[in-house]
Symmetry: C2
Subunit: 406 residues, 2 copies
């Protein structure tokens, strides 16, 4: 039985193709899902946000890998990153080109072992990819049941706590009162730590990959810079573009910024260097002459923008900017709420959550007596190491998860 | 005689005020300028660019501190950064709020000792601050003598070599055939290394602060992201905005990106953290609710944009993107041309020229037998350490400059 995922990395680093996943593996009975993932819909007739607003008919997508045991105590919740979805592992169709983003660590015998755990992953509220047919989310692009029209900016602001509360309602609906762990990367790490701060009795341990327990001024500033091109795009029209032309230019520029911010120089210099966009067209000859890295940014961002919604991007920016775990005023207070066993996994060269800032959080947790482990994921990709190079942290992660919970 | 500059750092880190500079110091005869700097104009009736275009009546501003000796061999040329000007030291008027950007290292008895050296600093071609009355430059915002109208995008592309060639013509006009050193920060470091590659007989030594000998893919990508808001601003109008409304929104957003890129998280988290923009106005309450760091970015960028020209910004981006010292194809070849003694001074936490990339250049220079020294300027400010914390490298710099030239 094949227990490892062969992989091939494409030019752009993200084309991680797991061969054999759902394509004829001999699956033993311990393997609880056959590699074809079924996206499911969770509906809450009404949800009241942290800010006190009521949203009717909240819907989010979710999926699972592995089997919930009779005690219902073997669940691992996976929380996704800013531009992510619930698709953490496997494929929705056998011919789907890319598997889930953490396919290298979620599966039978892998770090997050689907022979042992019931792994559950959900789309967040205001998920960025509102135009991806596999995503189920509720946000500004959703129809307001009261008007039959998209909410636009009438959708209430939501927070990381709101994402967590909807996930909690989902777990409640499955009869899960205590998880084995919450594990997430980047904005998923924020959710994992928020889970620990908000529902300590439900969460004995959390894994925060390339993320931490509060957003600081550096990150607030960068999130603003990411959002600015959307607001500057006349097509944004204060969020009123549904049924018309969405602010695709602004959204694409926002995603160009996200794309480069999430990388690091050794990868970008190595992959693209000073290569020209077109072999015969010297970029030195004209003001708009281009290098390959510029075209790559265009293409990577355009592909992402086609599935994304600009208002959802802005709501996600706000949810991230306002984040301090537990709704506290600052990092120290946020960490004071966290009693779960914590594994922090920053990544080498991460410009969004610099490893030094995460090491500082480790030190504060340790000083207050919270059990904490720390492992830097190596690699050339910066923040993106937390997804693409997650296999470099698989051994640490597996050891952390397979010990008895505190 | 006071030989140190007392300083006070304002909220924004850049408000370095040297007290006493030109304000009543007891100046001995060895001090060759009285603290009031005279901006001068250098005119070339015609200049042919590296690309072969002819520009009539090229003008750049310049200034000097100290006295050129009879042998005319004591000149140190200072080359400025992307958003900089020739104003490296001193004041144009006694009541000027901020002195030159390197006032802490240029002066009598300082690292670049004006008692010993004739320090000369010039505005580049296509200087960003075309609307600053103290700046003299030639670029898209200049009047084309043939039409009497601003060049706009009919101005030919220029390169770092072109900046250097105009500086060389200026030095030629002063009878300087060999300098003591060329010293510059960031884009100024590019010019310093270009000087060494292009005119090795004239340049026995160079100091490259927070910059290197070639621009890589990471930097090309970021420069593109900086420029994009200008091009996206409808007011830019393909560079045709003179006499109308300039693309101030796009230019401001470009300068917001530059401003944050040039810093680092310890400074921004420390100075601004999660502070609100307005004490009574919770940023969590509304989508456009703001944190202080966001307003700071606005104000810092708006102040810079008021003096800047958008087309000049784009021409500078192009000049930087296309830079490889000596016009070579890659970094290895560029370094192969450099025989001068080199002092590399990257800065801690620099996201624009990461210290590791400069250490790599040191290793390549050393391997080819070029004498090279390397010192990381410490500090919380990232790239900006190369300006604001330059005093941290003053001792190293002074020792480097005061030895006999190779």
């Amino acid at each position: 039985m094949a227990q490892t995922a062969a992989k091939r990395r494409g030019r752009f680093g993200l084309a991680v193709v797991a061969l054999g996943w759902g394509l004829g593996w001999c699956l033993g009975p311990a393997q609880a899902f056959d590699g074809i993932v079924e996206k499911q819909r969770f509906v809450l007739p009404s949800y009241t946000t942290e800010g006190g607003a009521v949203i009717k008919s909240v819907q989010v997508g979710w999926e699972s890998y592995g089997t919930l045991n009779e005690a219902r105590d073997n669940a691992i919740l996976i929380t996704h990153f800013f531009s992510g979805t619930s698709a953490a592992a496997g494929r929705y169709q056998a011919d789907q080109r890319r598997p889930g983003y953490w396919d290298e660590i979620i599966g039978a015998g892998l770090a997050i072992d689907t022979d042992t755990y019931f792994v559950i992953s959900s789309d967040t509220l205001v998920n960025l990819n509102a135009n991806d047919s596999t995503v189920i989310t509720t946000g500004p692009a959703s129809l307001d049941p009261d008007t039959g029209k998209p909410y636009g900016l009438t959708f209430p602001l939501v927070t990381i706590r709101d994402f967590v509360n909807v996930q909690k309602a989902l777990l409640d609906s499955l009869g899960i009162t205590r998880v084995h762990a919450v594990v997430g990367a980047s904005m998923g790490a924020l959710q994992a730590l928020e889970w620990a701060a908000a529902y300590p009795a439900m969460v004995p341990q959390v894994v925060a990959v390339v993320g931490g327990a509060a957003i600081g001024g550096w990150q607030i500033g960068w999130l603003d810079l990411w959002a600015a091109p959307i607001v500057a795009d006349p097509a944004w029209n204060h969020g009123e573009y549904y049924g018309g032309n969405p602010p695709l230019a602004g959204l694409t520029q926002a995603l160009r910024l996200v794309t480069l911010s999430a990388r690091n120089w050794p990868n970008v210099d190595g992959d693209f260097g000073r290569r020209w966009a077109s072999p015969g067209k010297d970029p030195r000859a004209t003001l708009d002459g281009r290098y390959f890295v510029q075209d790559w940014l265009d293409q990577a961002a355009a592909g992402r923008a086609a599935l994304a919604d600009a208002n959802h991007f802005l709501y996600l920016v706000k949810a991230n900017q306002t984040f301090v775990a537990g709704g506290e005023a600052n990092l120290d207070a946020a960490l004071g709420r966290i009693k779960a066993r914590v594994l922090l996994m920053p990544a080498e060269g991460d410009h969004i959550f610099p490893p030094e800032t995460i090491a500082h959080q480790r030190d504060l947790l340790a000083a207050q007596g919270t059990p904490v482990e720390y492992h830097v994921i190596p690699g050339t990709l910066g923040h993106l190491n937390g997804i693409v190079n997650i296999a470099q942290g698989a051994g640490i992660l597996k050891a952390f998860l397979d010990r008895p919970t505190p």
